[in-house]
Symmetry: C2
Subunit: 305 residues, 2 copies
Amino acid sequence: MASPEGLAFNISAAERETGLSKDVLRMWERRYGFPQPTRDANGERVYASAEVAKLRAMKRLMDAGVRPGKIIGLDLAALNAMAEARAPLRREAPALEREVLALLKAHDVVALSTTLTTLLVRQGLQHFVTDTIAPLNRAVGEAWMRGEVEVFEEHLYTEQIQVALRGAINAFPRHAGSPRILLTTLPGELHALGLLMVEALIVPEGAQCISLGPQTPTEDIRDAALAHKAQIVALSFSAGFPLRQATEGLASLRRELPPAIMLWAGGELTRRVRRTMAGIVLLPDLTSALTALRSYRAHHVSQAA
Amino acid sequence: MASPEGLAFNISAAERETGLSKDVLRMWERRYGFPQPTRDANGERVYASAEVAKLRAMKRLMDAGVRPGKIIGLDLAALNAMAEARAPLRREAPALEREVLALLKAHDVVALSTTLTTLLVRQGLQHFVTDTIAPLNRAVGEAWMRGEVEVFEEHLYTEQIQVALRGAINAFPRHAGSPRILLTTLPGELHALGLLMVEALIVPEGAQCISLGPQTPTEDIRDAALAHKAQIVALSFSAGFPLRQATEGLASLRRELPPAIMLWAGGELTRRVRRTMAGIVLLPDLTSALTALRSYRAHHVSQAA
DNA sequence: TCCGATGTTTGTCTTGGACGTTTGATGCAT
DNA sequence: ATGCATCAAACGTCCAAGACAAACATCGGA
């Protein structure tokens, strides 16, 4: 249903659609000769939907760490093949993933919601997050990249996951608990699903989560940590977030935060981080968040005792 | 706690912080002589936090319809005074608003959550939204503009409102219901709270809401409407959304959508819209959404009968 | 095998110009 | 006085080409 015919995008629309800034779009055109938009009567760029599709595929690969020069010459099919090849060796698409994708394609909200809730109850919140949601996210993301899932279907999926997780989190008492963990993302990082997953993982452990939602300026993160007397500040970074902005923001936040307050960074992006940063704990996957929490508690208790 | 001392922003940070594009920041500097950032060793702009604060105040006023030329010469105090003056004649800050703001400033999440839940139960979901949430949103927004509320406090407020609303919405059965209403926002519009409020208003009426969350491309909105057999597509626009993008997006969506599917547009922005657009229902406030729904049903029933 | 130096790639910032669209005011007709 | 059309100013977005710093990869040496 992704109309292949000549839909036109101006540079602003192309930016929204691809996540690549206007500067980058113009620069690539200058340097590599791609994209090569036509011009309207006013001399302004007009991108064809085929170009936008290729740019989207490129962005997705770049978010996984590939450099543009390596792939700018490839066509859409080759890009998709490459993405497929890079996909972590998946053991024959588990039945659950296939089932959820089928429900998604059938637009059966009720069945999807029921399936998720059933799994949640059967597995318990923590295993639901690590064993079900995380692989599902990957499966849906990959299917989207292969063009098997529409954007609106992915939106619906995200929304349903959020509903399920929020409902489960609310079932726990929200007061008290230790340690107090402040959850948020830096400005520019919209992806709030990671926050919710961490919260779902941590709340059953008896810790207290204070979630600010996405996009809190660093200055305000510091103020919030102090105001709420948090022992830990945890940030989440999705794959598409600019690496530089992330390290810059983390460093600046670490500088402003009292040394006693720990700073945790998690999410897809943190898998691509090379060097370790002083005073910042990297959590490349969900289980490491749990172990970090437990180790903190062990340490903290022994210290207090 | 908003540090008045010399925090530095590069143009990227200033853009994130103020919501004004780099192009606009540079253009204002060229045309009006404000802002007047200093330069770093590399010749790049460095904005002082005072400038950023004034820019933020300007943006807020502009979102309310004021033109930049009128206010670019004013200082921060004058801007705040102007915002205060423009604030819809408020009848001596109701006790509830003062109470919630106090809880927010005290960072008492538990009490805030309890207060909201109590009100929700006492008033019922619909009255809770129209009589409590809506005025509270305005009060918090105005307090934020006056500098009485920190960004992180506002984030926490939004998060708590979302928790309360989602919890209440989930209490209703999610299946069946008529009409089917597709809820989302256009790309670039992040504000999802409006969606949630509309959903909370509509679900008790027995209609079925399919929420895609924020930022769905128009093409996908059309596909989703068809896939879910929605009778109505409802979009939400916050005050800060570019008016032109909104009308353009609405017109384009109207063109692509089958005529039988209604297109509703709500949110702060729609109060500033002058001319009426063919085939698009403007809902400048929450109650108009309810009346629109009821009128749709009356019409639809009489048609079917 | 690990580390450091060197060259290449890549994104972001810069200036200054141009144009289209919206806004608000003025003048004219009803 | 109210409504409508015209016009000029205000304003935002786009364009081009250049510059530079940071990230990365590659190679050589310890």
